[in-house]
Amino acid sequence: MLAATAVLIGGLSLAGVVVGSLAVAIARHVATVWLPSQWQDSITFFLLLALLLFRPYGLLGKPTRRTGI
């Protein structure tokens, strides 16, 4: 599930997967500075939601007709 999230966040390419995985991992662990660690999953999927809203094609992906915008 986390891996799928990472792919979606990064965008569907090799570089995207690397960036997405790093983003997910860093977000999950930096968040524990302010929040108890049981909220990690919430943070991860919240990140996914936010990303779907603003960059539905992923951080490194390119907009296509299917993903819109």
Binding site: M1, L8, Q38, W39, S42, F45, L52, L53, P56, G68
Partner: protein
């Protein structure tokens, strides 16, 4: 006999929830995977209000529906902007976040331990204790939900909603506010799902976040698809099949550890078989979503 009544109550609960999902997924064409979360919001509202504030059943039922609808307004306005598979992923993420909140907001929900000893409901002085009384309440709620959805689908609102499912651009070009219709149907659906959740909470008198997981969302969606999306009675049939099937398997005499896995296999086979031979569901007339049909 009590097993049959127990199954009847369960079918009623799930049918109400499946009907509410059908409003969004069947008539609106929006495949939402976050329905168990709204159902959980209803259950938790009823449980907490009766336990901590000593409210009666009907006020908590209404409060659960309103709270769930409010959450749906806030979240629906955001996720409903997304199309098709992005919407599915977004509601999937939403479901995981909401279940995580139920799991981790321990001051309110008691976390993974759940809430136990939810008192039996009292309706106008009638203390509901027997299982057949629950079956009657469930049947009343189911009747109400069926009536509501039938009226809604035949109303101008429902017509536009189905038009949006068939062709969003066309509906928009006819001057309909597509976002408004989507959000309103999502909100109504969330409120109705919460009603099912309230009944679930007082019937089992114990709830925990595990009952409102993504698996539950998928199960409800399976009921809608198997029964027939975009048909009024379809979700009721789907709920009856998926609730009763594991119980029938119990009488076949398999050991429990095999039966539990077999249940998953049978869900999967059911959906695959329906998709192969009756893609419109058992009661369905419209093809599910946009695939197939008149194209």
């Amino acid at each position: 006999m009590s097993l049959i009544l127990h199954l009847a109550v369960l079918v009623n609960i799930y049918a109400v929830i499946a009907i509410s999902l059908n409003l969004v997924a069947g008539f609106g064409g929006m495949l939402s995977l976050s329905h168990a979360a709204f159902y959980g919001i209803g259950a938790y509202t009823t449980a907490l209000l009766t336990l901590r504030l000593d409210w009666g059943f009907l006020p908590t039922l209404a409060a659960g529906a309103v709270l769930s609808a409010l959450v749906a307004v806030a979240l629906g306005a955001i996720v409903l902007r997304l199309k098709e598979e992005l919407f599915v992923i977004a509601t999937f993420a939403l479901q995981l976040v909401l279940q995580n909140v139920m799991l981790n907001w321990t001051e309110l929900t008691n976390g993974p331990l759940g809430i136990a000893n939810i008192p039996r409901p009292v309706i106008f002085g009638w203390r509901v204790t027997d299982i057949w009384e629950f079956a009657i309440i469930g049947a009343c709620l189911l009747g109400g939900a069926l009536w509501l959805v039938t009226r809604l689908v035949r109303s101008p609102f429902g017509r536009v909603l189905q038009a949006i499912r068939e062709d969003e651009v066309l509906a928009r070009s006819q001057g309909h506010d597509v976002e408004y219709f989507k959000v309103v149907s999502f909100v109504l659906s969330a409120g109705l799902a919460a009603v099912g959740g309230s009944l679930y909470a007082v019937y089992y008198s114990y709830i925990d976040p595990g009952s409102f997981s993504i698996h539950e969302s998928i199960l409800i969606l399976a009921m809608v698809i198997i029964g027939g999306a975009a048909s009024v009675w379809g979700p009721v049939v789907g709920a009856a099949i998926l609730v009763c099937l594991p119980e029938i398997l119990r009488f076949v005499g398999l050991p429990t550890d095999i039966a539990a896995h077999l249940r998953q296999v049978i869900y999967g086979l059911c959906i695959a078989a329906i998709m192969l031979w009756r893609p419109r569901g058992i009661m369905g007339r419209e093809a599910f979503g946009r695939a197939g049909g008149r194209d």
